[in-house]
């Protein structure tokens, strides 16, 4: 029995527990998850849905891995780890491990803006981060009383927070230090298209503007933000969403190699200590620290295979990042090397600011390595599949930008335009030529045609077409006594 201790009960830690449980129902691994927060693990992806009022906080708790050999302890803050004695220290208690997993996640990076914090370090009343479930709760409370809000940070979460606030009736402005929104995922043209989409929803955007001071009222509460261009944005609610930094203090203090995150190999193992693993936003693999859920879950699957011995040689080889904005009325997908330019790869772009549409493909060696879709996501499923599976892209790149529909029958009900080999009745395999031949052999009505060819006698869906064909044939038949015009658009096929 291996004692595995996981530090962190966020999306990575909780997923790892689920994955271990799924692979090891018998309990060869004894897993203990230590979470600092009092509440159970929650699905952070849905935080924007909470702010938008679609679900309540209680709804987004993640399913708890429950088994005798999986213990989840919330409200347990780990303060130190002793690698020599293989214990972690939590509230004066020592928890021994055979294998330790760090899933400590990250914290909001709070910009060093004067006025944001009190001397004691606390945030100014009216300012809050948007990261945790507690943040979400605070934001909900604050949004009820707020008259105007400003969001510092025009990344994914900042935009989602802004969208949620505006949906709750709070006017919002987004202040983005970078020259355009979502600068980690979008190139400038795309960022500008997105800003226009936000404007359509009533969200103001100030890009390329840095907050230089948080303005506070006599009561100490936030009343606005002063920008570096001298402008002031009035607001009684300030939401901070200016990036995150991995929580690596424990690892650093324990002497583990830490760059931006805890440096791990392909089995998510610390390069310093083979008994310590790390995953999720606190881990750095192959030079990359991921800030999305999907990579953390992919890592959890690999690590669970390694820890339970079910896939002892499983390897994590890196993830394609697919960023999807979850905000109603905003359709944004950015994936892979979305920022790459023409000098680095084959780039195909469609830029239609008036329709709030922007599409970009980045192709290298006939493989899709990055893409952006704004406004219209019809091909997003195809693109993510191509990116994830490394399938070759089609010669016709346009089909990746615009959803190609299977060629349906043209909206042309003139029977004369159909070729003779065109199938009229699928159920019974009857072609236009067969109906025509039937007419020439003496059939004079749809019923006659049905009796001779069985057209219309399956699902009946072709009845109108056959009626039309019969009328056309009648109209074109010089021997017909029908009063219809004697000459059809084209001659009757002989």
């Amino acid at each position: 029995m291996t004692r595995v201790v996981v530090v962190g009960n966020g999306m990575a830690g909780a997923r790892l527990a689920q994955e271990v449980l799924a692979r090891d129902p018998g309990g060869r691994v004894r897993l203990t998850v230590l979470g600092a927060e009092e509440h159970p693990a929650y699905n952070r992806v849905l935080l924007s849905d909470v702010v938008a009022g679609k679900v309540v906080l209680e709804d987004i708790a993640l399913p708890r891995a429950e088994a005798p050999h999986v213990v989840v302890r919330t409200g347990t803050t780990v303060t130190a780890l002793d690698r020599d004695r293989q214990v972690v220290v939590a509230g004066g208690e020592e928890v021994p491990y055979d294998v330790l997993v760090l899933a400590t996640g990250s914290l909001p990076a709070l910009p060093p803006v004067p006025g944001l914090r009190d001397p004691g370090g606390a945030l100014a009343p009216g300012a809050l981060a948007f990261r945790t479930v507690d943040d979400g709760r605070a934001l909900l409370t604050a949004s009820g009383a707020a008259t105007r809000a400003v969001v510092l940070g025009g990344g994914l979460l900042g935009i989602e927070a802004a969208r949620g606030l505006v949906a709750r009736g709070v006017p919002v402005e987004v202040v983005q230090a970078a020259p355009h929104l979502m600068d980690r995922q979008l190139d400038p043209d795309a960022g500008r298209v997105l800003a226009r989409s936000l404007a359509d929803l009533g969200i103001g955007v100030r890009a390329g503007a840095r907050a230089v001071e948080v303005l506070r009222g006599p009561d100490g509460r936030v009343r606005g933000v002063l920008l570096d261009d001298g402008a002031t944005v009035e607001a009684d609610l300030l939401v901070l969403s200016a990036g995150v930094r991995p929580c690596t203090a424990l690892a650093e203090a324990a002497g583990l190699a830490v760059d931006r995150g805890v440096v791990v190999d392909d089995q998510l193992r610390s390069v310093t200590d083979p008994r310590v693993h790390a995953l999720g936003e606190c881990a750095q693999h192959d030079g990359r620290v991921y800030g999305l859920v999907a990579p953390a879950w992919e890592q959890a699957a690999v690590l669970a295979g390694v820890l339970t011995g079910t896939e002892p040689s499983a390897r994590y080889t890196g993830s394609h990042e697919v960023t999807r904005l979850k905000a109603s009325g905003l359709h944004v997908a950015a994936m892979g090397e979305a920022l790459a330019g023409e000098h680095e790869a084959e780039v195909v772009r469609f830029h239609d600011p008036a329709r709030r549409t922007y599409k970009k493909l980045v192709i290298r060696d006939d493989r899709l390595v990055g893409a952006v879709l704004l406004g219209d996501l019809a091909t997003v499923g195809t693109l993510t599949q191509l990116l994830d599976r490394r399938d070759p892209v089609p010669a016709d790149r346009l089909s990746l930008l615009f959803a190609g529909r299977a060629p349906a029958a043209p909206a042309d009900d003139d029977p004369s335009h159909l070729p003779d080999r065109a199938t009229v009745c699928r159920c019974n395999g009857v072609t236009k030529g067969a109906v025509t031949a039937c007419w020439l052999a003496g059939a004079r009505s749809t019923a006659d045609v049905a009796a001779r060819t069985r057209a219309t006698t399956g699902c009946g869906g072709c009845r109108d077409t056959v009626d039309g064909l019969v009328a056309w044939l009648r109209a074109g038949d010089p021997e017909s006594t029908d009063a219809a015009p004697a000459t059809p658009a084209r001659g009757v096929p002989a």
């Binding site: 699905n43 992806v45 849905l46 849905d49 679609k54 679900v55 709804d59 987004i60 708790a61 993640l62 399913p63 859920v293 999907a294 697919v322 999807r324 979850k326 359709h331 996501l377 019809a378 091909t379 997003v380 499923g381 195809t382 993510t384 599949q385 994830d388 599976r389 399938d391 070759p392 089609p394 010669a395 016709d396 089909s399 190609g404 529909r405 299977a406 060629p407 349906a408 699928r426 159920c427 019974n428 395999g429 069985r454 006698t457 399956g458 699902c459 009946g460 869906g461």
Partner: protein, 706 residues
Amino acid sequence: MSAPVPTHCPYCALQCGMHLVPLPGGGAEVAARDFPTNRGGLCRKGWTSAALLTSPERLTTPLVREGGDRRRPLVPASWDEALERVVAGIRRAQAHKGPDGVAVFGGGGLTNEKAYQLGKFARVALGTSQVDYNGRFCMSSAAAAGTRAFGVDRGLPFPLEDLAAAEAVLLVGSNAADTMPPFLQHLAAQRERGTLVVVDPRATPTAQAAALHLQPVPGTDLALALGMLHVAVVDGLVDAAYVAERTTGWDEVRRLVLGGYWPERVERLTGVPAPDLRRAVHLLAGARTAMVLTARGAEQHSKGTDTVSAFVDLALALGLPGRPGSGYGCLTGQGNGQGGREHGQKADQLPGYRRLDDPAARAHVAAVWGVEPASLPGPGRSAYELLDALGTPEGPSVLLVHASNVVVSAPDARRVEQRLDALDLLVVTDLVLSETARRADVVLPTTQWAEEDGTMTNLEGRVLRRRRALDPPPGVRSELEVLAELAARLGAHRFSADPRRVFDELRRASAGGPADYAGITWERVEAGDGVFWPCPDEDHPGTPRLFLDRFATPDGRARFVPVHHRPVAEDRDAEHPLYLTTGRVLGHYQSGAQTRRVPELAAADPEAFVELHPDLALRLDVQEGEEVRVVGRRGAAVGRARVTPTVRPDTVFMPFHWGGAGRANLLTNPALDPVSRMPEFKVCAVRLERVGAHVPAHVPVQGAGA
């Protein structure tokens, strides 16, 4: 000309009504008949079905191996000689291996009477537990999921006519436009209204008729369903009152979908854009009445049961099952797929949809059969496991096959051939010399549908009369006669060859079971448009609609089942970079043993083909109509290329109607669903090669080194 005989089409589970008009010179002509399921319509399979009655390929005499030697040809024999060989082989196997040395493999095309009798024959005359049937390959996943949610499995718990009352329909993995064309009449309202949603990896004719077509990566329907459930929760579309009153288990499922299946994640798993997913759910939830229907596309997976459960969960969350004009249903495939799974030819079941491991069920059925309950064997191997065990030291050494062509229709066909060839005795009862019959030691010729009386139970759970319209050719016997004669020679009696007496016995055996036929008589079936089970007594009107008041669970509530997505059993990789998915074409039925012998149908689709996307064709330099080889991990199959944008670029499609080198099932994966034991027919990994460009290994290449 004789009077038209009202009966039903011999093929699919829609069981379209038709008239047969016997012709003076033999054979019959098909004429239209207005019946609720097809309203007079027939597809080309139905219209041409009588052609097989007079086919020159029809078997009219038993065949045995010359000198009893498998390597020598099949030659005509008398019934007495053929049956004696069968009995001797059975006795030998029983002496060596005990009762389980003999196995029986049935089919979903058998009438209720025959399916019932086959199960009884196995358990009573042979005493073997080794009996299963090809329905395991058909709708077993939906049956398992339906049972665990509703407490009973009836494909459609409502008549087809109710479809017209559904404002929206979600059709998952069904290409009904090709597999049961007259069914499409019932979707006319949704097509007109723009409320038909189809889920299919291919843009089939059915999908093209939809207002919204979701085209997931093969093997990801389960994730798609969970994503739809997630949307229903987050967008406030769950019918909370219904969930509270009529279901159990919602909290866990709700938590599960919120925790892992948000649309953007599901989009990445399935390839279905999140906005389309949302639209589909809103389309369903925005309708006052709606139906969720699944078919083989959702079910024929190693996670087929869970996939259906996820769609049932969706239907329950939206408050559909058990409400007029709404519900969940499975579109059963085979002609008697429904009745075939109710009366005891399944490894774990007894008549009346009773469980073989239920002591009360055993006691009831044993009393009807006049045997001791303890004498009934327990549950045996499931279909593929049974085939896989044939001729092994632990497995049966004799197999009797009825109404099934496993060499074509079972997965990993080469393995199945090897197992059949390892048997001491293979007995096949069929109309024609099917691919499976060709490998047999004894072939017994049997009657066709137009030559026999009996009942079938269609996809609605409606019991129908199949009627004898003409005499069978001399030399041919009905399966009931064959079983009665074999049983008698084995020393077991009380096996009637009269379908009506067998049906009356079936009624008693099913009485009190979930599929209760006790009150159904042939007269009642004939007097109306069939009778829906359950029908516990002759005064009972039958049950067209189930679940209106309660579900068939102990507490009367439907059960939500928590399920998770998982990957396909065999994913694609560098060596096999494509998915293969399989299915049917309009003109053929199942293994094609019948339809390939109907000239008009054979002419329309004469040989196996492979659908591939134009991008793939361009990349591999494959031309339309060229022969291509599909190579997988278990074998290779050959077919003509059909280049079409209706298939995904990462997927090729092959229909499974042909034998020989064109057999799709040479490729398919026998990975089984843990609950239903359904093989993963719908997805495996393959690559595509040009046949023309390939140099066969046995051709020496000039100038090549040693």
